[in-house]
Symmetry: C2
C-alpha cells in the first residue's frame, strides 16, 4: 500500500511532554499497522525555539533520527548538540528531551517500539 505525502495524518501538539511551542507529528504508520510491536513511527517537525519536554520511556523505547536542523538533546541526563544524521536511542526506563536551538526547522524521525 502506498500513502502519498499529502495523505498522511498528522497532529499538531502544543507543549508536547511539557515542552515549548508546537510540534507537528506526521504519522508514517497508523496504530493498527504495527502488528502490536510499537506505537509511533513519525516525522516530527519542531520549529525554532520549540521542544519536546523531558520524559521517561517506561515499557517502550524510542529512537530519534535527525533529518535536518540542529538541536539540544537531554539524553537521560547528559546534554548534547545533535545535527542531521545523528541517532538518539532512549532505552526503556531512560528519559530524553529535544529542543530546536537553530534557526531552521528541526526534523526527526521518531520510532517508539515496545520493550
Amino acid at each position: 500500500m502506498i500513502k502519498q505525502a499529502d495523505q498522511l495524518n498528522f497532529d499538531v501538539l502544543t507543549e508536547m511532554r511539557g515542552g515549548k511551542g508546537e510540534v507537528k507529528v506526521i504519522k508514517l504508520l497508523e496504530n493498527d499497522e504495527f502488528h502490536g510491536k510499537g506505537r509511533l513511527f513519525a516525522r516530527n517537525v519542531i520549529k525554532p525555539g520549540c521542544s519536546i519536554g523531558f520524559h521517561q520511556h517506561a515499557g517502550d523505547f524510542e529512537t530519534y533520527y535527525v533529518l535536518s536542523g540542529e538541536g539540544l538533546v537531554d539524553d537521560n541526563g547528559v546534554k548534547a548538540v545533535v545535527k542531521a544524521g545523528d541517532v538518539i536511542y532512549t532505552n526503556a526506563g531512560e528519559s530524553h528531551s529535544i529542543e530546536n536551538t537553530g534557526t531552521a526547522d528541526l526534523e526527526v524521525i521518531a520510532l517508539i517500539l515496545y520493550a
Copy 2:
C-alpha cells in the same frame, strides 16, 4: 545514547534482493537494540539506475519512507512512482521492489518489524 552520523555502521550491498547495482544501508539501530521486535531500521541510499529487487516479506513487514529522490515501486504487483514524503507499506505476505528512476540519489528510511 547518541550515535553521531559518522559512527553509524553501514553495508554496501550489491544486487540487493536481485536488484541492480549497489545500495548503501546505513543502520540506525543494531540488531540487539530492537528488543526482538524487528531486524532493520536503516537509511537506504539507492543511486540512479540501482534498485532493490522484488521480494516477499514472510513473518515480517516493511515500511519505506522516501526522504529524497524519485523511484518506481512495485507494490505487491502494482507499479507506482514515488517521491519524497511517500510511504510504502508492505505487509507480511506481500512483496515489493524499488528502483531509482531519477537523476539524484533515492533515499528511503526502511523499517522491518516482525509480524
